[in-house]
Subunit: 152 residues, 2 copies
DNA sequence: TTTCATGTAACTTTTATTGTTACATTGCTC
DNA sequence: GAGCAATGTAACAATAAAAGTTACATGAAA
């Protein structure tokens, strides 16, 4: 797989778990769906486990499952759990700071980013895993149904 | 320099140009200020030149200069010129798309990102290069003056 | 006790970005 | 026009971050 992000991998895995409510799914099975390998799945879901979103069981019939109903899992929670910023890092190395302008640019952009971060988090809070799952199934036809949702 | 972004490099360079209104500044001189090397400066400012924000002149006393007053250069323009997204890329490789959920996740996140992108751009429009420059000079003392600005 | 799963560490591969070297081009000055 | 001083750009090397891989310890169930 080329250059995905842990966040989308996580969402993808979670939707799968949601669609298989009864039984646990193994890392290997998920890895096939996500077109990656089991260790990467464990890495990603491992952080979600620490956040109390999923649980893993070992041994026979072990695997991953959701700890809460999908409607109660917001994208913000997932995003926060991943510890990944939605925004790029714009700060340059302060280094020896010869001219001071670097610091100002860093500070201004840093403020802006922090501000934006909060704004985006608030929007992600309004989308639940279930929202994505519902969008994922309806009818495999009509792939042009995307766009125009309610995150505005 | 470790892992900065072209955007902050660009802003830093622009502030320098703004503070030297009369004369052109060479890539080498800027490179020293930005703690990088001349070619990188040319690469970054080159894209700003294509956007009509700066101009370069060759030969004796050549170098870079602003084409417009700093008050009329918004961060959005700079940001748009760099063609760099403020947001991380969350899409995973559609690949062969075995399960269709990938596409949905990509679509939902894509929508969200596009939406957020527009929102951030609107905010960047309200900050001008001059705003940063004014912030950069006042008094070198009080470095703890950052934070709490007006991009909200 | 065997089997199947996670948990994790260590390492390799891949990809993006930045840094560097080299050289052509253009404009200014003498 | 000669020569210098700058940009413009291509090609390549170095670096860093992310993902992929291998290997093995641990724990749970049949």
């Amino acid at each position: 797989m080329k250059r995905s992000s842990r966040l989308s991998l996580a969402l993808h895995a979670l939707v799968h778990l949601h669609k298989q409510p009864g039984e646990a799914i193994t890392s290997s099975t998920l890895a096939q769906c996500l077109m990656t390998n089991p260790v990467v799945v464990r890495r990603v879901l491992g952080t979600l486990r620490e956040a109390g979103i999923v649980a893993a069981s070992k041994g026979h019939d072990g695997g991953w499952r959701l700890l809460r109903p999908a409607g109660e899992i917001s994208l913000r929670q997932v995003y926060a759990a991943m510890g990944e910023s939605l925004l790029i890092r714009t700060e340059s190395d302060p280094g020896d700071i010869a001219c001071g302008i670097v610091r100002t640019v860093n500070a201004v952009m840093g403020d802006f980013i922090a501000d934006a971060e909060a704004l985006l988090a608030a929007r992600l809070e309004r989308v639940s895993l279930d929202d994505i799952a519902r969008e994922a199934t309806p009818n495999p036809l009509h792939p042009n149904h995307h766009g125009a949702h309610s995150h505005g």
